[in-house]
C-alpha cells in the first residue's frame, strides 16, 4: 500500500516536471518578439540597472523618473542596482528580473544564454528618435533581431591633472610607454575588459598586428596586448574600479594621468578646473547601454512600457545628465537642465564616436568577421587578467 502511494507520488512529480519543462520550452521556442498590442494590465516589474539609471527618489527626492511611470501606467517598479557587468550577468542568470540596462559586454552573454527576448520596436514609439548610429549594433542586435532600446553612451577618456603632466597629452602613449613623464602616477581600469584599451593603442602603434576590433583578438594579438600591459605595470600607481577612490587619489596627487569617465572629470572640476579629459588620437574604448527584456518576464506589457518610458526625451535627458553620459534620444538634448550637456558629452556628433570602441564580450568566433582564426574568448581574458594582476 505504502509503496504504491509513493509510486503514485513519484509519478505525479515526474508528470509535473514534464508539464513545467514543456511550458518553458514552448515559451523559449516562440517566434521571438511580443506581438502586442500592449494591454493596460497592471503588473510589477523588477528592474536591474546601473546606479543612476532608474532613480525613484530614494537617493535624491528631486531625481525621480520611476514614480511618474508608476502613476501613469499602474505598473509597480522595483529597482536593483549593480556595480559591474559581470555582476549584472550573474544576477540576471539567477532570474527574477524583468528588464535590465546592459552594457555591451553583458548583453551578448545574456542573449546567447537565452536570458533575453527580442523586442518588437513597433510597440516602442520613442525608438524612432534614437540616434541612428546606436541602432542595430552588434551589442543590441543579433541575427537581425533587436534586443532592446539604447539608453546612453560614453567614452573612456584620458584624464590628466593640469600642470602635472606636460605637455598636455593627446595620445595614450603617456600611459603605455616606459618613458612616460607620469611614471609611477598612472592609473588603469581594474577589469579584464581593459585589455581592449591596450588593443586600441596597438591598433594605432603596431598596424602590422592587423587589429581592426579591440574585442576580436587572435592569440598573437592578445599576447601583444598582454605584453603591452606588462610594459605598463611599472608606471602604474593603482588600478581603479571604485571611482570615489580614484577621485581621492587624483586630489591627493598620487595619480596624475589615466583612463577615466567624463563624470569623474566633472566631479574633479566641480569647484575649479583641475583636470583635463580628452579622447586621444588613437580613439578609445567606451560603453553603450541598452534596456532589454528578460525572456522569463511575466509582466511583458509593463516591461514594454518601461522601455518606452525610459527613452522618452525628458526622461532620457534626466537620466543621462544624472549619470553623466550622452543620451541616446536625439530629442533629449533640447531638454537637459544644463543646455551644454549634449555638447559636453558629444551626443550629437557622429565623428566623435567613430573611433570609440564600445564594450563588447569577446567570443571565440571573431567579432570582426574573420573566420580563418579563432579569437580569444572573454573567459580567457578574465584568466589572463587575474594572472597578470597577481604575477
Amino acid at each position: 500500500m505504502r509503496v504504491t502511494n509513493l509510486r503514485k507520488l513519484a509519478a505525479l512529480v515526474a508528470a509535473g516536471t514534464l508539464v513545467l519543462v514543456g511550458c518553458s520550452s514552448s515559451e523559449e521556442s516562440g517566434s521571438g518578439a511580443y506581438e502586442g498590442p500592449l494591454q493596460d494590465t497592471p503588473g510589477t516589474i523588477n528592474v536591474l540597472a546601473w546606479p543612476g539609471y532608474a532613480e525613484d527618489g530614494t537617493n535624491d527626492p528631486n531625481v525621480d523618473w520611476v514614480t511618474p511611470f508608476e502613476e501613469a501606467t499602474g505598473c509597480t517598479v522595483n529597482v536593483k542596482t549593480y556595480g559591474t557587468s559581470d555582476e549584472a550577468v550573474q544576477l540576471m542568470q539567477g532570474g527574477g528580473y524583468d528588464v535590465i540596462s546592459a552594457s555591451g559586454d553583458a548583453s551578448l552573454r545574456l542573449i546567447y544564454g537565452g536570458d533575453l527576448q527580442p523586442v518588437n520596436l513597433d510597440l516602442i514609439p520613442n525608438y524612432a528618435d534614437i540616434f541612428d548610429n546606436l541602432k542595430d549594433r552588434p551589442w543590441n542586435t543579433v541575427d537581425g533581431k533587436n534586443y532592446g532600446v539604447p539608453h546612453g553612451r560614453g567614452a573612456n577618456v584620458l584624464q590628466y591633472t593640469m600642470g602635472k603632466v606636460n605637455p598636455e597629452p593627446t595620445s595614450w602613449s603617456v600611459v603605455w610607454e616606459p618613458n612616460s613623464p607620469a611614471k609611477g602616477k598612472v592609473t588603469a581600469y581594474d577589469s579584464a575588459i581593459y585589455i581592449a584599451d591596450a588593443a586600441v593603442y596597438l591598433m594605432a602603434t603596431k598596424p602590422e598586428l592587423g587589429i581592426t576590433d579591440p574585442y576580436a583578438l587572435d592569440q598573437d594579438q592578445f599576447d601583444a596586448a598582454m605584453a603591452l600591459l606588462e610594459q605598463q605595470k611599472p608606471l602604474i600607481a593603482e588600478y581603479w574600479s571604485d571611482y570615489t577612490k580614484y577621485i581621492g587619489a587624483v586630489q591627493s596627487g598620487s595619480i596624475t594621468v589615466g583612463t577615466s569617465w567624463q563624470v569623474i572629470a566633472n566631479v574633479l572640476n566641480g569647484e575649479k578646473a583641475t583636470v583635463g579629459a580628452v579622447k586621444p588620437q588613437e580613439g578609445a574604448t567606451g560603453w553603450s547601454d541598452t534596456w532589454m527584456i528578460s525572456s522569463k518576464t511575466e509582466a511583458i506589457d509593463c516591461a514594454y512600457k518601461w522601455l518606452n518610458h525610459i527613452i522618452t526625451p525628458s526622461v532620457n535627458a534626466q537620466a543621462a545628465e544624472y549619470f553623466g553620459e550622452a543620451p541616446a534620444n536625439s530629442k533629449a538634448c533640447a531638454l537637459t537642465a544644463n543646455p551644454d550637456h549634449c555638447s559636453l558629452y558629444h551626443a550629437e556628433e557622429t565623428d566623435y564616436w567613430s573611433n570609440v570602441y564600445y564594450w563588447k564580450t569577446p567570443t571565440e568566433d571573431c567579432l570582426d568577421g574573420r573566420t580563418d582564426v579563432k579569437c580569444v574568448p572573454y573567459s580567457e581574458w578574465v584568466k589572463a587578467w587575474s594572472s597578470f594582476r597577481n604575477k
Partner: protein, 286 residues
C-alpha cells in the same frame, strides 16, 4: 508533561546528551563544515566559458589552473609573508603592551587601559583603512610630511602599507589574549623567581614568557587568519599589490569554481597552522 519529559531524560543519559549537543553540533556541521564542503564541491565543477553559468560536471581544471600558473603560487607566498609579518609585528608590540597593562600599571587603571585597546574596534573597519589611505598618499600624506624633513620618503601604497594597515587593525586581537594570560600569572611565581636571584629580564624570559606563550599563539590565530583572508585593506592600501582574497574577489562572479579552488588555499594553510599549534595548548586560550 514536563515532569515526565524530565524523568525520561534523567533515565536516558545518552538521549539527554544528544539533545544538548544537537544545537552546537548542528551549527558546526551545517553552517561550518557544510559551507566548506559546498566550497570544495563548487571547485570541481565546470563553467560555460561564455555565459559563466556553473555546469555541474566534474573537472580538475580549476586546480590545475591554480597550481600550474606561477602567478597563484607567488600570490600565495606573498599572502603568507604578509600574514606572518603582521603576526610577528603584532606580537612584538603586544607583548610589552600587555605586560605593562597586566603587571606594571596600577590595578585601578587596568580597566581603562583595556578599554583604550578596545576602542579602535568600535570604529568602522572602512573608516580606519581609509584614514590610513590618506596617511600613505605618496606626496600629500601624513607619513610623507613626517618623514621628508629627515630625508625619508613615504612608502606609498603597496605591501608595506598593507602590513602596517593590517597590523593596526588586528593588534587588539593580539593584546587581549596576552593580557588575559599575564593577568592570570600568579605573583608568587614572579616573586619566587626574583627571590632565587633572577634579574627582571631573566624572569621575563624564563618565567613569564613560557607561561604566557600559549596566549601569544592564541592571539596569532586571530592576526594570522584575519590577514590571510583580507582583501579590502589590500584594495585600499595595496596599490598594485594583491593577495589571495583579491584573486577570489576578482573571479567569483565570472568563474565561481575557480574562485572556490583559490579560496581553498587559505583554508588549507589555516588547517596546517591550527594543526601545528594544537600541541601548544593555545586553542584552550581562544
Amino acid at each position: 508533561m514536563i515532569k515526565s519529559a524530565q524523568h525520561f531524560l534523567n533515565r536516558h543519559v545518552k538521549t539527554r546528551a544528544a539533545l544538548l549537543l544537537s544545537l552546537p553540533l548542528g551549527w558546526m556541521i551545517v553552517i561550518y563544515l557544510g559551507a566548506l564542503f559546498a566550497l570544495f564541491l563548487t571547485s570541481i565543477w565546470k563553467i560555460d566559458t561564455f555565459t559563466s553559468d556553473v555546469i555541474r560536471e566534474f573537472t580538475l581544471e580549476n586546480f590545475t589552473d591554480v597550481f600550474t600558473d606561477r602567478a597563484y603560487f607567488n600570490v600565495s607566498i606573498r599572502t603568507l609573508m604578509v600574514a606572518i609579518s603582521v603576526t610577528l609585528i603584532c606580537a612584538v608590540i603586544a607583548i610589552p603592551m600587555a605586560f605593562y597593562m597586566a603587571r606594571i600599571a596600577k590595578p585601578s587603571n587596568r580597566p581603562i587601559l583595556v578599554a583604550l585597546v578596545l576602542t579602535p574596534l568600535w570604529a568602522s573597519y572602512l573608516v580606519k583603512v581609509y584614514a590610513w589611505r590618506t596617511m600613505f598618499y605618496p606626496e600629500s600624506g601624513f607619513l610623507q610630511w613626517l618623514i621628508s624633513p629627515v630625508g625619508g620618503k613615504s612608502p606609498g601604497f603597496g605591501m608595506v602599507a598593507v602590513i602596517i594597515g593590517l597590523t593596526y587593525l588586528w593588534l587588539p586581537y593580539m593584546v587581549l589574549p596576552i593580557y588575559a594570560g599575564m593577568e592570570k600569572l600568579p605573583n608568587s611565581v614572579v616573586d619566587a623567581s626574583a627571590d632565587l636571584g633572577a634579574k627582571p629580564g631573566r624572569t621575563f624570559r624564563e618565567v613569564v614568557m613560557p607561561i604566557t606563550w600559549p596566549t601569544i599563539i592564541a592571539g596569532s590565530v586571530f592576526t594570522f587568519s584575519l590577514s590571510m583572508g583580507d582583501y579590502i585593506t589590500v584594495q585600499i592600501l595595496g596599490g598594485t599589490f594583491q593577495m589571495l582574497g583579491n584573486v577570489v574577489y576578482q573571479n567569483f562572479s565570472l568563474n565561481l569554481p575557480f574562485a572556490a579552488a583559490v579560496s581553498l588555499i587559505p583554508v588549507i594553510i589555516m588547517m596546517i597552522y591550527l594543526a601545528g599549534i594544537r600541541k601548544t595548548g593555545a586553542l584552550d586560550n581562544l
